[in-house]
Symmetry: C2
Subunit: 223 residues, 2 copies
């Protein structure tokens, strides 16, 4: 990569960081916990959000910003759960950037607890872009294989939590959840690991509790 290219990328990331800081500040002011979900395409981000919508109903209010290259499909799925959702279509770009979130954030209702951001399905590029979230999760689905953390380290290094998804498929694929977790923990010690099957509603209690506690912590810091 030429020096010129590196400078441009650095400028983009610096501009992104400023926009992200403004979003983080605004979310904290409103007492909303921002959560950024990263993964490969088809790891189950939307299905997890649908399951959390069911789990949170009557207890917490959530909203979702969906990132995709094309189509409004994921936002439509979330809206069918009665959850406010905005679709950002990047039109080719491989990741969400903070300025894209900044354009939507004003429309997010003030009385919600969680703002989930589902990034473009890509285990590489989104890891470099802070979106002003308070928590970042990387999802890894069983059929992707337990060898992925070491091959795509940045996503795991930048995350606060790892969600091993599609646990219902473990009997049918070569995937050892313990190996996946160990490999991720070698990259990022202290990473919180959750194993879920969103389709079967399994493993969601611990994740929901973790999110509730993070929200409490954020609000008590503000108080």
């Amino acid at each position: 990569m030429s020096t010129k290219t590196i400078t441009v990328v650095r400028d983009l990331l610096a501009t992104n960081k400023e926009a992200a800081a403004a979003i983080r500040c605004e979310l904290r002011r409103r007492g909303i916990l921002g959560v950024n979900l990263l993964s490969s395409p088809g790891s189950g981000k939307t299905t997890l959000l649908e399951a959390l919508a069911d789990r949170f109903r009557g207890r917490f209010r959530m909203a979702v910003i969906e990132g995709d290259i094309e189509t409004e499909r994921d936002a439509e799925r979330i809206r069918r759960k009665g959850i406010p959702a905005w679709q950002i279509t990047t039109g080719g770009a491989c990741h969400l950037e903070a300025r894209m979130i900044g354009k939507v954030i004003g429309e997010v209702p003030a009385d919600i607890d969680f703002l989930f951001i589902e990034n473009v399905g890509n285990l590489v590029c989104p890891a470099s872009y802070d979106l002003g979230e308070d928590l970042r999760f990387v999802l890894l689905s069983a059929p992707e294989g337990d060898d992925k953390p070491a091959k795509y380290p940045q996503a795991f290094l930048s995350a606060d939590g790892l969600i091993l998804t599609k646990a219902d498929l473990v009997p049918y694929v070569p995937f050892d959840p313990a190996r996946a977790a160990a490999e991720a923990l070698a990259i990022k010690p202290g990473l919180q690991v959750f194993t879920v099957s969103a389709l079967r509603g399994e493993g969601l209690d611990r994740l929901a509790e973790f999110l509730a506690e993070a929200l409490d912590r954020q609000r008590s810091r503000r108080a």
Copy 2:
């Protein structure tokens, strides 16, 4: 994106195109068919190459260039099949570029039939980079979901063939192969569609035949 950024990206792509043209020329001169495999992480690119190595044994000679952000794992898997393999680790970059292939191509034995290039696992960025291949396949695994072509159109638009992988998992996941194929064909009419289970060795005959015919065509054009 600023004008400056767009210019830099265009320069990069133009430089890549030149390097790709040189590789294509060199491969054709040697009578080698170059095949670029694109997909999300964990869609089964390496497993497909292992299965093709078994299928081709005694009939065709192949070599593999592996692209990953980190680790030599995939090249090691291919070498265990007795196939020459080179690992390119991009150290963070989300795709292979032609100049990376250019650095390795001199080491590829002259007497092989197929040079497979397994790109970095990413359904977005690799689609923009010509690596000098003659054929490009995009892989989509059943657990990723049949809604992916419209959400990641560039990869499907740029491909010559679509390989629906992990067909053995279809009974366990919400995936309609016909819907996935129809959606991909709406983006790229004429796309060749193959359905395989590399683990079970199913669906490989048609794919192997397609590759053999493409090799014949390339060599007869050269003669």
